[in-house]
């Protein structure tokens, strides 16, 4: 129990963004309390020993875009951040495979095996995307300026961005425009011809989003994921030793180092709002904590439709939040394995099990998987992004045993007839059957399986509709529109009530960015 009942700031939700915001506020000298509903910290960035001896990266499984300055300013390496490389991506095919690795010669040779043209284009594609990344990064790292009622700092931020856009080369401008508007399939068709290469690359354009690779707008999501590769030597894209929960724990330890109090099993029922001003929170058990400001790390739906009364908010804002698209599109299957899966395309080769395995053989595979979901079913043959954490970090499972993390898409939240235990098992079976097509031994080596449907993601982790990004990363709800116009700068219509979750700019993924920028905004105001 915290010793005091009056704080400078209370953060609702001990996910990685909530903890990041708390750590920054603590670092600036404020007395901060973090309240987490569950018994563990981390939100969706959590590691749990679901089956004895086997540690599951229950939801999120890789670190993609952790901001370098957040790592540095919060001293995260000192508190346990250890990012191990994920060196390759393998796409198993029927009787063949496609592998991309960290070694450019090897990757060239491997792609050339399928298409000489693509192998050479691939070498140009990386630098082009890096250029775009450089062009986009300053946008992501700016607090979205309020275009409607700009303050001086908004004007200067807008000016900076305008100058930034003016500084882009015509090529950068072309790619940027295309990435903002096209589907990932169309965009990649302009570059490549070998379909498994294209479909695998397009897959990052659909992750966490209720779209197919042929849906316009998916190219931007692809770019969002590509950003992780930009600071090459940083290897911001990787696997955290001990799973993503260890990232959250590193941030939590940093926060505690800065004097932050953290309470678990402390579900907040309501934000206390008096005269349009947040003054504290009430827990479900009736305890109340007062504070000068309250910061929600929850998604926009929970933050504004559950934590406060609609009556305390302007009706246009309520409408905007209700329209905010947060459709869950993915599920997660975590397996405890007795041995390694043996992919028939590369039987006995354990080397490539250190990287990602992408079940994305064709556009049609992905698009059909999407079609199932569009009409209210989970995909019979889903897209999957698979990693084997225990191969990268043997500490994740007992010696010789393994854990397998399967990100599965699509699984719609609104499934025909609603999710139930039987549907969950059927969904698990569809996943296993799809894997078995490429690694037939999978069925014989499963010791335990954990299946999370969007409904489970919602009930266990508080992700509305099971959306992993607190709202889709589509253009109409990014930047100055995330989560709603006028309120993209971490403020809300309620005085002293702020937001810092993935539902704010710049969005989802383990980036620390919304938490950091929200805290910096608050420190700037206070």
């Amino acid at each position: 129990m915290p010793g005091i009942k009056k704080y400078d700031a209370i953060v609702i939700g001990g996910g990685h963004n909530g903890l990041t915001a708390a750590a920054y506020l603590g670092r600036s000298g404020k007395k901060v309390l973090v309240l987490e509903r569950r018994h563990v910290l981390g939100g969706a960035a959590v590691t749990e020993e679901v089956f004895p001896g086997f540690k599951f990266t229950v939801c999120s499984y890789v670190v993609s875009l952790m901001k370098p300055n957040v790592m540095r300013e919060l001293m995260l390496p000192k508190f346990g951040l250890e990012l191990l490389p994920l060196e390759s991506t393998m796409t198993p095919l029927d009787n063949d495979y496609l592998i991309r690795t960290a070694d450019s010669d090897q990757t060239y040779r491997e792609i050339a095996r399928h298409s000489k043209k693509d192998a050479e284009t691939y070498m140009r594609f990386g630098p082009a995307m890096s250029q775009i990344g450089m062009a986009v990064r300053p946008i992501l790292e700016t607090i979205a300026p309020n275009a409607i009622r700009p303050t001086l700092s908004d004007i200067s931020a807008s000016k900076k961005l305008l100058n930034h856009f003016k500084s882009l080369s015509s090529e950068q401008f072309e790619y940027l425009t295309k990435l903002m508007t096209m589907s990932s399939a169309d965009f990649l068709d302009e570059w490549f011809e070998f379909e498994p290469l294209k479909s695998t690359m397009s897959a990052s354009g659909i992750i966490g989003t209720f779209m197919g690779p042929r849906s316009p707008g998916s190219a931007y999501v692809m770019l969002h994921h590509y950003m992780g590769d930009i600071d090459g030597a940083f290897r911001a894209w990787g696997f955290q030793r001990g799973g993503t929960g260890a990232v959250s724990m590193a941030i939590a330890r940093s926060a505690e180092h800065f004097g932050v109090d953290i309470m678990t099993e402390a579900p907040v029922a309501k934000v206390i709002v008096k005269n349009g001003c947040a003054t504290g929170v009430a827990l479900e058990n009736g305890d109340e904590y007062n504070s000068n400001i309250v910061i929600t790390a929850l998604d926009p739906k929970l933050s504004f439709l559950k934590m406060v009364d609609e009556g305390d908010l302007p009706s246009d804002f309520v409408t905007a939040i209700k329209n905010f698209r947060i459709r869950g599109s993915s599920g997660k299957v975590n397996l405890a394995l007795d041995a390694l899966p043996d992919f028939t395309c590369l039987t006995g080769d354990e080397h490539y099990l250190r990287g990602a395995i992408s079940i994305s053989p064709t556009y049609d595979h992905l698009e059909r998987a999407y079609d199932d979901a569009k009409y209210g079913n989970f995909s019979q043959a889903p897209f999957m992004d698979i990693i084997l954490p225990s191969v990268i970090d043997p500490g994740m499972a007992p010696p010789g045993k393994h854990v397998m993390s399967c990100f599965v898409q699509y699984a719609p939240y609104d499934i025909e007839g609603g999710w139930n235990d039987k549907k969950r098992e059927d969904f698990g079976d569809a996943v296993i059957n799809t894997i078995a097509r490429y690694a037939p031994n999978i069925k014989d080596i499963i010791l335990h399986r954990q299946i999370l449907t969007p409904a489970d993601l919602e009930s266990t982790f508080g992700l509305t509709e099971g959306n992993i990004f607190h709202g889709e990363l589509t253009l109409q709800q990014l930047f100055s529109l995330r989560p709603a116009v006028k309120w993209a700068d971490y403020t809300t219509p309620i005085k002293n009530y702020f937001q810092c979750g993935s539902g704010t700019h710049p969005g989802g993924g383990i980036t620390g960015s919304p938490g950091e920028m929200a805290a910096k905004k608050i420190i700037g105001i206070q």
């Binding site: 370098p68 490389p85 060196e87 960290a102 250190r354």
Partner: protein, 409 residues
Amino acid sequence: MIYENKFTANTQLKLSPFFERTSKLNESQEWRRWSGYLAATNYELTHENEYFSIRTKASLLDITPLKKYIIEGPDAQQFLDRLVTRNIGICKVGQVMYTPWCDEYGKVIDDGTVQRLTENKFRITSAEPNLDWIITNSAGMAVTIRDDSYTTAALALQGPNSRAILNVVASDSLDSLKFFWMMETTFGDIPVSISRTGYTGDLGYEIWIDPKDALEVWDLLLEKGGTFGLTPTGLQALDIARIEAGLILLDVDYISSRHAIIETRKSSPYELGLGWAVKLKKEDFIGKAALVDEVSRDPKWSFVGIEIQWPELEKHYRNAGLAPGLPCTAWRTSTPLYKGNNQVGYATSGAWSPLLKRYIALAHVKSECAVEGFQLLFELKVEHIRKLTPAKVVKTPFFDPERKRSCPA
């Protein structure tokens, strides 16, 4: 041997007794020369996984090229005590000491470890051949000196899982073996000596064996260590790890006084951050008089860790329209350090630490600058243009995990 000797002259590079295995595992076929041996630079195409194995799993390195000498006889302790700067008199049987040794002028010749094998028997390791120096200085003492370089093969098993692997392979538990101690045990029926030492600054061991058992030991470790993530590791990964650990390297961070053509190239232990290893209270040892004198005058140079400051480094690259350029491997080119317009030192090796997310280097600086937090300017080339960017003097080791010294409860 799969390597056919086509020359008869004994001038070729030596092949380690592990070469039969390492040569087949070396996917990149990148090799460096190390004391006349072929030593793997990387086994894989990039060194990243090998580096992370040292820090998060376990790494196996062939360190046979180390020079090794056996010193035995009633005067062995007294002789070594005279040779090196540390107090060998307090080194117990089964203990290991890291130490430099100097010439008569107190300038460092080499550094290595001294293992006390029995009351009157020691093994000393070094980077360079030291046999002549050792023999010359043993005149009149009851010791026999034997070059053990080719008669003992050695492996380094480093990383957080190294103890767990040895506990599976060895007939005795390693749980109570303390940092810088050693023990005799067996792998099956193969006798091995294991010292809890290494060049990574992590939990780790070095295994000393008869070369005839080399392949069997290698196979056994890899077979049992596989499930703990044991990874054959080359020198590129090791180089980053040893910089993180703040450990110096002969011919990179300093020059042996025996090869220095000019006086200024020589360094005393104080100038290499090894003052802690000089025991001036000892009765006598080679270089003592000069070192006593140097201490009274305060050494002019110091050896420090520096951290190149990120925000300014990033700015240099941003101005050139680039993402921050970082060395992906450790570098060894002397790099000037300034205070204002004056050069006050030079960095001798550096690396981007993938674990710490810090750009670190080891450097010689004038002693007045060797204060934690002291701001220096580090010379950097961005797109062929020289820039100066701030660097700060920081404590070493840069990375010092508790597991390095701790024993399981």
